[in-house]
C-alpha cells in the first residue's frame, strides 16, 4: 500500500496497542464498583462517614452471642439424645455414615447437613425426599440456625442449645 504513509501506519500501530489497554482499563474501572459492593456486603455496617451524617445508623453494640454447644433431639424416636458440637460439620440422616444416625422412616439416607460458619451454625438440606423444616419453613438453601429454634427432619425435631 503506497497511498498510506509510513507515519500513519506507525501511528495506527501504536494506536492499536493503546486501544487494547484502554479496553483493559475500562474493564478494571467497571470492576471497581463490584469490589465496593463486596466490601459493603461483607461488613454490612455503615461507614464512619455515613454514621456522622445519620447518627441513627450507628448500630447498638451487638448482644452477647451465645455459642451453641450441644444438639438436642426434642422429638422423634431418638428423643433425649444429645450430641456435642465441635468445629466439624454434622451429617444428619438414616445412613450409617451420618454423624447422627436418625432411626426415622421419614428421613432420607443423607438428609441434611449442619455446619459451622463463623460463630453460627447453618443447616442445609441435601436433597431429601421429605424436606427439612427450620421453624416451620421448608429449607430451600442453607440458613443459620439460632439457639432453641426447632429443626424438623421427618418425625425428628432437633434444637441447638448453649
Amino acid at each position: 500500500m503506497n497511498d498510506i504513509s509510513e507515519l500513519t501506519i506507525t501511528a495506527l500501530r501504536f494506536g492499536f496497542l493503546l486501544l487494547l489497554w484502554v479496553l483493559i482499563f475500562s474493564i478494571v474501572t467497571t470492576m471497581r464498583r463490584d469490589l465496593q459492593i463486596g466490601r459493603k456486603a461483607v461488613t454490612g455496617a455503615p461507614t464512619a462517614r455515613e454514621v456522622r451524617k445519620h447518627p441513627e445508623l450507628a448500630a447498638s453494640p451487638p448482644p452477647a452471642i451465645q455459642h451453641a454447644r450441644t444438639l438436642v433431639v426434642t422429638e422423634g424416636p431418638l428423643k433425649g439424645t444429645t450430641v456435642p458440637l465441635a468445629a466439624s460439620p454434622i451429617l444428619l440422616g438414616r445412613a450409617q455414615e451420618a454423624t447422627l444416625v436418625l432411626e426415622d422412616d421419614y428421613a432420607s439416607g443423607r438428609h441434611a447437613r449442619l455446619f459451622p460458619q463463623g460463630s453460627r451454625w447453618f443447616i442445609e438440606d441435601l436433597g431429601s425426599t421429605n424436606g427439612t423444616y427450620l421453624a416451620d419453613q421448608q429449607l430451600t438453601r442453607a440458613l443459620p440456625v439460632e439457639l432453641g429454634v426447632p429443626v424438623r427432619i421427618g418425625k425428628t425435631v432437633i434444637e441447638l442449645r448453649p
Binding site: M1, I4, I9, T10, L12, R13, F14, G15, F16, L17, L19, L20, W21, V22, L23, I24, S26, I27, V28, T30, M31, D34, I37, K40, A41, V42, G44, S88, P89, L91, G93, R94, A95, E97, T99, S108, G109, R110, R113, Q117, F122, D125, L126, G127, S128, T129, G131, Y133, Q137, Q138, T140, R141, A142, P144
Partner: protein, 476 residues
C-alpha cells in the same frame, strides 16, 4: 451466606459500551491487517467485521432479555479476544486459504449455541440433574475418535478428531465441559462424605474408596483414553480440572500435593514409554541444540522460530501484518501466542494475558457470589479450565514448560475449541446472573417451596417455571 442489602444492578449499559470498545479492538486489528496487506479495506473486511458486530450485539440483547444480572465484563473480554483471533488468523491466510472465513463461521455457530444455552437452560442448577449422564457423555465423547468409521485417523500424531461431514471435530473439547459438570454435581452432594468418612492414617485422612469410586472412574476414563489418543495437553487439562475441583470442594491442600506428585510421576513414566512425549521434553530442554532443532519428527524448530519471532517483536512489536510469522509452523493455531508476541510486542501480548486474567477473575467472582455449591464448583472448574489452557499454551510457547497441543482459548484457529469455550462463557454468564441477581429462593432440587410467600425474600429474576420436578428425588 451473608445477605447483601445493596440492590442488584443489571449493568447492561456498561456492557454495551465495553462491547463497542471490544469490537473496536477486533475490527481495528482486522483493519490494520488489511491495510498492511495488499488488498486494503475490501469487501471481505467489511463483511467479516459487520457479522462479528451483529453477533456480539445479538448476544448482548439476549443477555438483556434472559440474564439481566449477568456479569457485564465477561462478554466484552471474549468478544475482544475472539475478534483479535479472527484478525490474526485472517492475517496468516495465504492466497486460497480459507481458515479465516472458517473461523468466522465457527465463531457465529459457537455464539449461536452459547445463546441457545442461555436461552433454553435458564438456570445452571438444572445441570445438576445430569451429573451421571454427563459422566457417560464425557466417556462417549472421549471414545469417539477411537471408533473406526467416524474417526478422522491420526492427525499430527494424535487421534482426537472425528469427521462430521466435510469438517473435523475434536469431541474432547466438549468433554471438558461435561466432565466439569460431573465433578461439580458429584462433589457438591458427596463433599461431606469425602471429607468426614474415612480412615485416618497419620496426619492425613483418606476418604473411603466407595465415596471416591465415581471420581476415580472419571479420572481413569479421561487419562486412559488420552493415553491411547496420545494427546498430552488434554490429559494435563483433565487431570488439572480433577485436582482443582476436588481441592475446591474439600479445601484439603493434600489433594494438590498428591496431584502435582502424580503429574510429575506420570510425566516421567510417559517420557520413558512414549516417544512423542520424550521428543517434547527433549525439544524443551535442548531446544537450541542444532540436531534437536533440525530433527524431523519432534524437533524444536517450531518453539525456537516462535522465540525468534517474539524476540524480533520486542517491546512494541513489528505491527500487525508486518512480521514474518509464516516462518513458524502452525502460527495460526498452536503458536498464535508467538504471532501476537511478534506483531504486537510484549505490550500487546501482556494485554492479551491481562484479558485472560480478567476473564478468569470474573469466573471466580461468579463462583464466590453464587449461593449453591454446584454453581460454585462449576464456575470454579470452568474458569480454571480456561486459565490452565492459557498457562499450558503460553508456558509452552515461551519455553517455560514443554510445548503441548492445547488451543489458546478464543484466539487459536479451531472450531471445536471455539464452540466449547463459548459454551463455557454461556454457563459462566448464567452462573454470574444468579450470583449478582436478587436472591433466588427456588429450591436446588426443583421442589417448589412449602410456602411461596416467605417474608423478606424476593421473587427470582429468572422466570423459572414453578412446574413439578421432572425427576423424582431418590429415597435412599
Amino acid at each position: 451466606m451473608i445477605q447483601t442489602d445493596t440492590s442488584p444492578k443489571p449493568r447492561r449499559n456498561v456492557e454495551l459500551v465495553l462491547i463497542v470498545l471490544a469490537l473496536a479492538v477486533g475490527v481495528g486489528a482486522s483493519a490494520l491487517v488489511s491495510i498492511n496487506s495488499d488488498v486494503g479495506l475490501d469487501r471481505d473486511f467489511w463483511f467479516q467485521s459487520s457479522l462479528l458486530a451483529v453477533a456480539a450485539f445479538a448476544f448482548h440483547m439476549v443477555l438483556r432479555l434472559r440474564a439481566k444480572y449477568a456479569d457485564p465484563v465477561i462478554l466484552p473480554i471474549v468478544v475482544a479476544l475472539n475478534g483479535l483471533g479472527l484478525a490474526l488468523i485472517h492475517r496468516m491466510d495465504g492466497p486460497g486459504d480459507d481458515t479465516g472465513n472458517n473461523q468466522l463461521r465457527w465463531t457465529l455457530i459457537a455464539m449461536a449455541v452459547s445463546i441457545a444455552v442461555i436461552w433454553f437452560l435458564k438456570d445452571h442448577r438444572i445441570l445438576r440433574r445430569f451429573t451421571y449422564i454427563s459422566l457417560a457423555v464425557s466417556a462417549f465423547l472421549l471414545l469417539l475418535p477411537l471408533i473406526p468409521g467416524i474417526s478422522a485417523g491420526e492427525i499430527l500424531g494424535a487421534r482426537v478428531w472425528i469427521r462430521v461431514g466435510p469438517m473435523t471435530f475434536q469431541p474432547g473439547e466438549i468433554a471438558k465441559i461435561t466432565l466439569a459438570i460431573f465433578f461439580a454435581g458429584y462433589l457438591s452432594s458427596n463433599r461431606d462424605l469425602i471429607l468426614l468418612a474415612g480412615r485416618k492414617i497419620g496426619p492425613m485422612q483418606f476418604p473411603r474408596f466407595k465415596d471416591l469410586g465415581p471420581m476415580i472412574t472419571a479420572w481413569l476414563v479421561s487419562i486412559g483414553v488420552l493415553v491411547f489418543q496420545r494427546d498430552l495437553g488434554s490429559s494435563i487439562l483433565f487431570f488439572g480440572l480433577f485436582i482443582v475441583m476436588i481441592y475446591v470442594a474439600t479445601s484439603r491442600i493434600s489433594w494438590v500435593v498428591i496431584g502435582l506428585l502424580l503429574i510429575l510421576g506420570g510425566g516421567f513414566i510417559a517420557s520413558q514409554i512414549f516417544s512423542h512425549v520424550a521428543f517434547r521434553i527433549d525439544s524443551w530442554i535442548n531446544a537450541f541444540t542444532p540436531e534437536v532443532f533440525g530433527r524431523s519428527p519432534g524437533g524444536s524448530g517450531q518453539i525456537v522460530e516462535g522465540l525468534f519471532g517474539m524476540a524480533d517483536g520486542g517491546l512494541v512489536g513489528t505491527g500487525l501484518g508486518q512480521g514474518r510469522p509464516d516462518l513458524v509452523p502452525f502460527a495460526n493455531s498452536d503458536m498464535i501466542v508467538a504471532l501476537i508476541g511478534e506483531e504486537l510486542g510484549l505490550i500487546g501480548l501482556f494485554a492479551v494475558v491481562m484479558l485472560y486474567l480478567l476473564l478468569f477473575t470474573r469466573g471466580f467472582r461468579a463462583a464466590l457470589g453464587t449461593r449453591d455449591a454446584f454453581g460454585k464448583l462449576l464456575a470454579c472448574g470452568l474458569s480454571f479450565a480456561i486459565a490452565l489452557q492459557c498457562f499450558v499454551v503460553i508456558g509452552g510457547v515461551t519455553r517455560l514448560i514443554p510445548l503441548t497441543g492445547l488451543t489458546t482459548p478464543f484466539l487459536a484457529a479451531g472450531g471445536s475449541s471455539l464452540l466449547a469455550n463459548w459454551i463455557i462463557v454461556g454457563l459462566l454468564l448464567m452462573i454470574s446472573n444468579t450470583a449478582r441477581g436478587p436472591v433466588d429462593t427456588t429450591p436446588m432440587v426443583g421442589k417448589p417451596p412449602a410456602s411461596s410467600s416467605t417474608p423478606g425474600t424476593r421473587k427470582p429474576a429468572t422466570g423459572q417455571t414453578p412446574s413439578a420436578p421432572t425427576e423424582a428425588v431418590k429415597q435412599q
